[in-house]
Subunit: 479 residues, 2 copies
């Protein structure tokens, strides 16, 4: 079904496609709601390079010149978006290949995912057209992609507005909807650098996307939403590229069960493969498999922001004894240590700042007095961040209110100063309330919506570092 | 430590305390940020009954008369809030008891939770003062409570603004912070009727609160956040009261582990008890134990909205094949069936409304075409809600945008019409984005932030109904 080439495309082979300096829309239109109209609107919201409109029915669309076909353009565009119905797609792809267009994107659905033999033929024909040429093809059955680092958004669907801040995640997904679901986290603060969907993958596939993201400096951790792949070895190559670039790869694999297997086939015409085989492959590659979709973004965002783990424990700092309790008992299952501060000077600061009805040991319960005395929170957070017992400070957010937001800023500044990371666990059920987006956007604070997800991730972080360290040791010993 | 009486207080015994028609604040003040000032401000934001200010230092505060003590008031208030430092609390409680005040609330901390023997004595003294009298006491070490059904909010902390809509949850919690964390869900749409915190529980405790909520018509499901209780039999009585009232009881028990056990002691001076014992107790009582704190509110809100389960399956209706996949493979683990529609007329509607590149069987993938043709979504949802194969329709929300919100309204209206419930699984990571609060507030739509939580809850729903049905059968057989 998918392309069967041996190796993934390199970053450079995909750069014209995914970071085009000039773009043409085939099937350009100003009919409101049409794929052509929506694509142009989404593109122009960000992109300021040349954007050519192609539609043989018009000579102009509004004030823009409209060309009859690709060969009539004043230059060969880096990327051509084919926003026309399926029936017309094949000929247009042939024209793009003839014109040596480096990148082509096809939106149209109705190929292999329908189970109709003639549609499968259609899809094979597309693969045959670009195979062995310099034209790279994304789709069909694809909503497109956003490269926020280059202000390019090629989709009929409205991708979230986003500027890749520090600690941005890049998303590579077969499913466009699921790429979008994660990318929309940007609207609530999470930095996102790329959201790349590949649909039916007749040429460029999700492994190529991961490889591309490994080479993109704005992307600090890679999310891969995988349904299936006929060439697991190419996925292993992609995971290797991520590792070589020092970028954590967070994988959510759909189709774990027989039911899921069948649905994956219907969706992007993917053979899901045995989940155990995929698990083993990603484990060997050092990737982080996340089984709950709702946890993927926050795990990835943590890894995009996190420094090197040093094998130390976590401090819990809370204004609530109840939250301390939840944190303390959640830490144990994935095996995260909650040691006491090692430096007596730090322990003294904590003992002085925390009232008698609080708790001056880990988990540190400052009580709600920090609301009236913000300095005491800063003193505690400073002592914990400075202490050698800790790689991170976990702060449960039990209430969302404007005046609580500076505590996140305090943690962010301290974590940055000491080369650590803080975790804000958003226990308040006011999702998106005051301080939520600020925490999600902070370069040195990771936002989690559950204590389980936070400590699970901290355990993976330490585990990943131990693995990298022991591999480095082996390598040094071999040198 | 806690009160050792045999039986829980009845709803009527607590009504003056928790639904007071007149209130006095002991330690009233206009010093910004003081407990007295904040309490008055929070109370006046909602309450329009008589509110007396007591502080021997003043004769007036602004335009309000200020009384020297409780005995000087023109009437015995239903509830007195003691907003003064610990040292002065004992004498004031004695005055309230002497004045036959039905309800007293103490904010001050620094009692048994400190581990100091003299503070434990202080706490015992409070218990002794009210024991056997008609004065019911909440606290100490307590942030207070909000009874939204009666527009009463007695707290120095700002409880969320909330009007209890249809399908509201009531919260009974030892921890004030955790009560607040859940109650803040109201700011993002979830209907909440009461948020009751009890702190150190020298008299009125969390079991009494649950019993009270069982008798409150605005509360449709009860959340209980439990650290520990020396009288588990009283918790069993409370669970029995909830069951007799036909109200689902959702329990989150802190202190599951040895670490948690210790922290619970430090927090509200509670013996946590063995988790297994508590598990067995709640299982016998038909309560629903939720281990993840972040899941408590959404489980409770589902049960507050859900009609009687009929042992039928779930239909999945999505615009995304990827989301169908996630749903299909998540349903299996907790054992939720995904049958096909039984009525051929419904199956025909679905086959006609879903395009060839979608999937006209459960999980139903309408594809994104419903974006341009909203009627096709309504047709599919209508056929599924009407079909006898289903108790519920699950709709993954993969993108938040204004134009998607009407789909939730369509599901809500249909679920109401057919006496069913719909589930909106908020897969988009835009927490609090367009449509989030609307879904949370809908009377016949339950909002979940993860597919796991949704199907876990659906399985508990069917299980609870089977149990109720078989108990009813046994009872009928015995009659």
């Amino acid at each position: 079904m998918h392309s069967t080439r041996e190796t993934v495309y390199t970053h450079d082979e995909l750069d014209a496609l995914l970071a085009p300096r000039s773009i043409a829309i085939l099937g350009a239109s100003n009919r409101a709601g049409s794929f052509g109209e929506r694509t142009l609107r989404n593109l122009r919201a960000r992109f300021d390079g040349p954007c050519y409109l192609i539609n043989p029915q018009y000579t102009a669309l509004g004030e823009d010149k409209c060309y009859p076909d690709v060969s009539a353009l004043p230059e060969v565009p880096d990327c051509v978006v084919i926003a026309v119905p399926r029936e017309k797609v094949r000929d247009l792809v042939a024209q793009c290949v003839a014109a040596k267009v480096p990148g082509v994107l096809i939106f149209a659905s109705g190929y292999a995912e329908t189970d109709l033999p003639e549609r499968l033929e259609d899809q094979h024909a597309l693969a045959a057209l670009v195979g062995g040429t310099r034209t790279r093809l994304v789709g069909p059955n694809c909503i497109g992609f956003a490269n926020y680092a280059k202000n390019v958004c090629l989709s009929f669907s409205e991708f979230p507005a986003c500027t890749p801040g520090p600690g941005a995640i890049g998303i590579a997904s077969q499913s466009g909807a699921l790429a979008m679901a994660i990318a929309q986290g940007a609207c609530a603060g999470t930095p996102v650098s790329h959201a790349l969907a590949c649909g039916n993958m007749v040429d460029v596939d999700v492994a190529d996307y991961v490889t591309y993201l490994a080479g993109e400096p704005e992307c600090k951790a890679i999310v891969c939403i995988l349904e299936g792949h006929e060439r697991p070895d190419r996925m292993a190559q992609a995971a290797g590229a991520a590792r070589a670039a020092g970028k954590p790869l967070i994988v959510h694999k759909l189709g774990r069960t027989a039911k899921g297997h069948h649905a994956a086939w219907r969706h992007t015409a993917s053979e899901a493969g045995s989940y155990e085989d995929w698990q083993a492959l990603f484990e060997r590659s050092g990737a982080i498999l996340v089984e709950q979709f709702d946890r993927v973004m926050e795990v990835a965002s943590f890894f995009a922001k996190a420094p090197t783990a040093k094998g130390r424990g976590a401090a819990i700092l809370s204004t609530s004894g109840g939250a301390c309790l939840i944190a303390a008992e959640t830490a144990g299952a994935p095996g995260v240590d909650l040691p006491q501060a090692v430096d007596p000077a730090h322990a003294r600061v904590l003992a002085e700042a925390i009232p008698a009805f609080g708790y001056p040991l880990n988990p540190y319960d400052t009580t709600a007095q920090v609301i009236s005395d913000p300095g005491s929170f800063a003193a505690c957070a400073g002592a914990l961040m400075a202490d050698d017992a800790y790689d991170t400070v976990v702060m449960p957010q039990i209430q969302a209110y404007d005046a609580a937001t500076p505590r996140t800023a305090t943690l962010d500044a301290l974590a940055g100063r000491f080369g650590k990371i803080a975790c804000n666990v958003w226990l308040t059920q006011w999702m998106g309330g005051p301080g939520y987006a600020e925490a999600a956007a902070s370069p040195h604070v990771a936002l989690f919506r559950s204590m389980d997800a936070c400590f699970w991730t901290l355990a993976r972080w330490q585990e990943r570092q131990r693995r990298l360290d022991s591999e480095a040791e082996l390598k040094n010993a071999g040198d």
